[in-house]
Symmetry: C2
Subunit: 325 residues, 2 copies
DNA sequence: ATTTCTATTGCAAACGATTGCAGGGCTTGT
DNA sequence: ACAAGCCCTGCAATCGTTTGCAATAGAAAT
């Protein structure tokens, strides 16, 4: 049932129906009400596709996470998902829908396809993964693109992110202040965010050596890696995990190995996902302020869509002190 | 840059360009390759909106979770999110995009708007919440709608779900087999799924009384409720939580109260979310087989879209034995 | 009574693709 | 040399809206 059908029923033109439904002032109150009633009665709702085509705006935002690194793990990462939750809330409040694209960057055209599809007014990316170059290239020609991630000097694309170097440093300083000596970083050091965390951690450690246990980021891989590491001789007395999920896996491996947390080994995570407060012992972690972060992202995106200039921004991380370190 | 522009550059008509790009056999190999090259060079990609309008199909599926009950909690529920992850994977594999709508059912038109927008070829709903009536009404006139939830006798809408009654019974039987006597159900008994779990649990308990600790489902509420309950005199020796997230909060409240799990109190959850394996002690729980479940959902939806008849289906729950019970 | 003005409404052209049908050029058979 | 057939390609309609502009009717002004 389209507007044209309603038009013949009401004995007016499609144009009038369209204007009546959108509350255009030039159509009389009486016809407006008459058409509205008719529309309600017959359950007529304008086709958004046609509308969007005509208006050249879609009311939708694409949200994607490039999965260059962790191919095994799809969208189930709790950090991504809670980011998604916040973004969804904000966008829906502003009248936008969300087009979720899971992206496995097989070809480097994935982002081009997304922005050129005409289906969205803007794109939000979570994480740069190994797609930095592609993002840079597309950002050059497509403004309404905002990325959660790190901001490198000379970078063209707009990012919102937390200060991962600072976060890593805070973690390191905290562990040192506890008198820990044998520091271990657990996680994949390749993605830019994690690289920064590790860099900050090392900076804090100063002269002290930092051992790196590089592994995939999915829970089982981390668990296996930590267990294997513990099976070797001297165990660390402090672990800094690249993410909370990794930290939880480490936690489990530790308890299984009969080690006390934080007595034998202090553990500190990153993100402060909801469940971090519910592990035992509750996880000390570096919080990324997603409430502010997502607000900034949406804000930046909408301003880019409106054609205004916007700068990259950084939200400060924060140490959340719980029992594990 | 549209197809028409490319057409003048190539010196052919838009029709030919369209056919060339879609690999239509009636356009010669040579022109086809020439146009393809030109398109690649200038980064021309057909506008999906126009395409969808013409083809009357969108290549997108709406995914929504009616949040009638837990208004405070948005999309961050790990169970929903991992369901989302699986669905996303399956749909993307089949070439569909996902339109994510967070739905706060203020008016009962939310679902009508979704199905009439023309933006999606079908709708997946996760949970019925208190929107049962609305879903029934819309399902009457709109076939490609599949719901994750319970199947009541006489119901019109198509559901895939796990057998919550059976799941509850399994949980109950397991706790009884451990010799537990003072049974406590923790969670919101109102939503249909939870109601069924409780019903099955009670059935298993037979004559034994089941205490119900009714509370909101967000972690803090559950934690507070359990703590308050433990502060009273006699504590239960077995807890069946309506979800894993609730179980984790209960776990925390228990350890804080100095109770041993499973020594003093056995705890069993529901869902088997990823993190259930990583709590300490690892959580015994009733798994909902999401791999099969989501496959069935997508399958049912696609067949409904194709106009085939499909029946509701139920996937059996399974006891996952870990340390907590 | 004629003109001017305003309040409504309709016409038709977009938006950017897809596709049935028709026609033009070229080969082939007789 | 002429008819028939086959490849290609283009014309134009279509999907369902929105909106600038023109047109009409009635009211108000002279």
């Amino acid at each position: 049932m389209k507007l044209a059908d309603l038009a013949v029923m009401a004995g007016v033109s499609t144009a009038t129906v369209s204007r009546a439904l959108s509350g255009h002032p030039s159509v009389s109150k009486t016809t407006q009400e008459r058409i509205r009633a008719l529309a309600r009665e017959h359950g007529v709702r304008p086709n958004q596709l046609a509308r969007n085509l005509r208006l050249r705006s879609t009311g939708a935002i694409a949200l994607a996470m490039p999965l260059g690194h962790a191919r095994t793990q799809h969208l189930t990462d709790p950090f991504f998902l809670s980011l998604l939750g916040f973004l969804a809330d904000l966008l829906v409040d502003r009248g936008y829908d969300i087009l979720l694209s899971r992206v496995l960057p097989e070809s480097d055209e994935w982002l081009d396809r997304l922005v050129d599809s005409g289906r969205v007014d803007g794109v939000l990316l979570v994480g740069q993964s190994d797609q930095y170059a592609t993002i840079e290239r597309v950002a050059e020609r497509y403004a309404p693109l905002v990325v959660w991630g790190v901001d490198r000097p000379g970078q063209r694309h707009l990012t919102i992110g937390s200060d991962n170097i600072l976060g890593g440093r805070i973690a390191g300083e905290h562990l040192l202040s506890l008198g820990r000596q044998r520091l271990l970083f657990v996680g994949d050091p390749a993605p830019p965010e994690f690289a920064d965390r590790l860099a900050g951690f090392r900076a804090a450690a100063g002269g002290q050596p930092v051992e790196i246990l590089a592994c995939e980021m999915d829970p089982d891989a981390v668990h296996a890696a930590v267990r294997a590491r513990l099976a070797q001789g001297t165990s660390p007395d402090a672990i800094f995990a690249a993410s909370d999920v990794a930290a939880m896996s480490a936690l489990r491996a530790l308890t299984e190995a009969g080690l006390d947390v934080p007595g034998d080994v202090a553990v500190i995570g990153y993100d402060d996902v909801t469940l971090a407060a519910h592990t035992s012992p509750p996880l000390t972690t570096i919080r990324q302020d997603l409430v502010t972060g997502t607000k900034l992202m949406v804000d930046a995106l909408l301003r880019r869509i409106a054609g205004e200039p916007v700068q990259s921004a950084i939200v400060p991380p924060e140490l959340i002190l719980r029992a594990s370190a």
